[in-house]
């Protein structure tokens, strides 16, 4: 019985992720896309939980579903577009794109199944502490670099959007 829940959850999440992801790409309203994106993120957080990575799932909710989605919604609001036909949302090369992407996707997805280990084996719960230890002690250097990255991004974002003084 317990064995059955995991696959079921996985199936539900999978369907949600794929459907919502496809929706992001196909939706004709941008706000719809954004919301579907947030929904995808949420489902991925679920996947994380399923994989036993609750901390990551929490971050996922915070950063993606929270911050990034909001940022993007702001972006959408600041760049209003006049309504246009649905077809014009897509580029002319869509068939070409399908031609190239689909085989790659199928190939990669098939290859993915060569990993046969059980995904939930040996799952540890409550992994915030070890993760924090890793990030702040073992990965101190990349973390510092990442902080510089955020600083640089901040400066960049400001310089690009601030109004001219004169």
């Amino acid at each position: 019985m317990v064995d059955f829940i995991e696959p079921a959850l996985f199936a539900i999440l999978t369907i949600a992720i794929v459907a919502a992801g496809a929706g992001v790409v196909l939706a004709n309203r941008i706000t719809t896309s954004a919301l579907l994106m947030a929904f995808t993120f949420l489902n991925i957080a679920g996947m994380f939980v399923l994989l036993g990575a609750e901390t990551i799932a929490m971050f996922q909710v915070l950063i993606y579903v929270g911050a990034i989605t909001v940022l993007i919604l702001y972006g959408v609001m600041f760049t209003p577009q006049s309504p246009r036909a649905y077809g014009l949302f897509f580029q002319t090369q869509k068939y070409w794109a399908a031609l190239f992407v689909v085989p790659i996707a199928i190939f990669v997805a098939l290859v993915a199944f060569s990993f046969r280990d059980s995904a939930t084996l040996g799952a540890k719960g409550g992994d915030l502490l070890p993760l924090a230890t890793s990030v702040f002690r073992d990965f101190a250097f990349p973390f510092e670099v990442a902080s510089v990255l955020l600083l640089a991004a901040m400066v960049g974002a400001i310089v690009l959007v601030k109004r001219d003084e004169d």
């Binding site: 290859v111 073992d138 990965f139 670099v145 510089v148 990255l149 640089a152 960049g156 690009l160």
Partner: protein, 484 residues
């Protein structure tokens, strides 16, 4: 506190560059508009110079930060390359920024941030650091490209560069994820050990290798992942173009060397042929399209793609041992000096509303600005690969491992491509020296700082061409750590 500082000693140059960026930002905020003009670049250069000098203070080689920082000759070499390029990009910029209303503090700071990112790549020991460093190097460049906010070309350049850059980053990091999945580690050494065991012949490794190839190829502007290059270079403000044509490229090759040559070394037989073909396609593609350009800036952009091809040839030849890596390093350095110089020469032709310079605008340049034209000519000859310039030595050094690795056809390709390239490089010289100036020729915008910078790099181009030994010896030394 001292202990904390002690831990920073190995990465002192990176820290200093970061501090420089912050200081410049603060100073920009504090100083009144008029004063900051001369002070900011001076501060930047001083900071970078300190970082340059700070390098030797660091303990010579070893791993720090729990094995996340690798200080060796390779690192030192690239640190020097990046700092030199940043200094140069700083020196040529001031008057242009002034004319175009680009905020100087942010410009210099962004250059510094990007430099830190590039330096991080050079000292990384695992894919995570590499990825973060790569992003730290690239994201400021997106900003740099779009910093001239009022300019539609700059907007477009930034947008395209950003979208494609983010896209390719995603490809790259997905490749890293698969690599991790295959090997269970992100450290180059462990990755290599594991790959040694399993080889290429399984699906996940293929996927990982392909994605990594594409991702890194994009950063280095390898055909067919190159198409962002001309548009981004073309639209970006010229000093930024000068920097982004060399800094990120050098960093990309640092990354390629770190990831492919050391991390993926076990698969070398597999990727090297692919890279050889990519190199041939890249140099030919870049050169042929450059041939059809009439805008010098765009032409130089395509030419930079071609040069990627030459460097990539040496990467593909890494079976030849340290000489291949040394050739990459030497070429990267040489390319940095001469290409930055060439783009910076375009600053002379800068007038409102024009991007770069059409060939016609260059007419008679030699009469109006003899030394500037002379410097430009030297860069162009060097890019062509005519002795006694550093570009020639670089080509010579590249051909050598390529032949050694058995890619004779690729060596012939390099030679023929150089001929092709000569045509469009020399056409620029033709316009500068052999046509008389048109009467509506743009105003020459020369400043002492720009001229000094150009003079120095022109001198370096020649001196390193005549006496390349110390640089090559250094490059050889720097190549050693990769090959254990």
């Amino acid at each position: 506190m001292t202990a904390f500082l002690d831990t920073l000693i190995p990465v002192l140059p990176e820290v200093l560059v970061t501090i420089t960026a912050c200081v410049v930002l603060v100073a920009d905020g504090l100083l009144p508009r008029g004063q900051s003009r001369g002070v900011l670049p001076a501060m930047t250069v001083v900071g970078l110079a300190l970082a340059f000098l700070g390098g030797p203070l660091a303990p010579p080689s070893g791993q720090y930060f729990g094995g996340f920082v690798q200080i060796d000759t390779f690192t030192t070499f690239f640190r020097a390359v990046f700092i030199v390029l940043a200094v140069f990009a700083t020196l040529v910029a001031p008057s242009y920024l002034d004319r175009r209303g680009i905020p100087p503090g942010e410009y210099y700071a962004t250059i510094c941030f990007s430099t830190v990112g590039a330096m991080t790549i050079a000292l990384s020991t695992d894919l995570i650091t590499l990825f973060v460093g790569l992003e730290l190097m690239t994201i400021p460049i997106y900003v740099l490209a779009g910093m001239q906010r009022r300019d539609r070309f700059a907007n477009e350049a930034a947008l395209k560069y950003f979208l494609l850059g983010a896209f390719s980053s995603a490809l790259l990091v997905y490749g890293f994820a698969w690599l991790y999945g295959v090997t269970g580690s992100t450290r180059y050494i462990d990755v290599a050990t594991e790959l040694q065991r399993i080889g290429l012949a399984n699906g996940p490794t293929i996927v990982a290798l392909a994605l990594v190839t594409v991702g890194l190829g994009f950063k280095a502007a390898v055909v067919p992942f190159h198409q962002w290059t001309p548009d981004a270079y073309d639209g970006a403000p010229t000093p930024a173009t000068a920097f982004m044509s060399v800094g990120p490229k050098a960093a990309a090759f640092a990354a390629i060397l770190r990831v492919l040559v050391s991390g993926l070394a076990p698969l070398q037989v597999d990727w090297s042929t692919v890279f050889a073909v990519l190199a041939a396609v890249t140099m030919t593609g870049g050169n042929i399209v450059a041939l059809a350009q009439t805008n010098t800036k765009r032409m130089l952009a395509y030419s930079s793609i071609a040069h990627t091809g030459y460097i990539l040839a040496a990467v593909a030849a890494s079976a030849a041992g340290p000489s291949a890596t040394a050739a990459v390093l030497f070429y990267v350095f040489a390319y940095g000096v001469m290409n930055l110089g060439a783009f910076a020469c375009l600053l002379y032709f800068d007038i409102e509303g024009s991007r770069g310079a059409t060939l016609e605008e260059l007419n008679g340049f030699a009469r109006r600005q003899p030394l500037g034209a002379f410097a430009f000519a030297i860069f162009l000859f060097s890019l062509t690969g005519i002795p006694p310039t550093v570009g020639f030595v670089a080509k010579f050094l590249v051909i050598q491992p390529v032949l050694d690795a058995g890619y004779a056809w690729l060596a012939v390709f390099i030679a023929l491509n150089a001929v092709l390239a000569a045509f469009y490089y020399l056409r620029v010289v033709v316009h500068m020296y052999m046509y008389d100036p048109d009467t509506g020729a743009p105003i020459v915008a020369s400043t002492r700082l720009l001229s000094t910078a150009l003079g120095l790099s022109a001198l370096a181009t020649i001196v390193l061409g005549v006496l390349p030994n110390s640089l090559y010896a250094w490059a050889l030394q720097a190549a050693n750590p990769l090959l254990r």
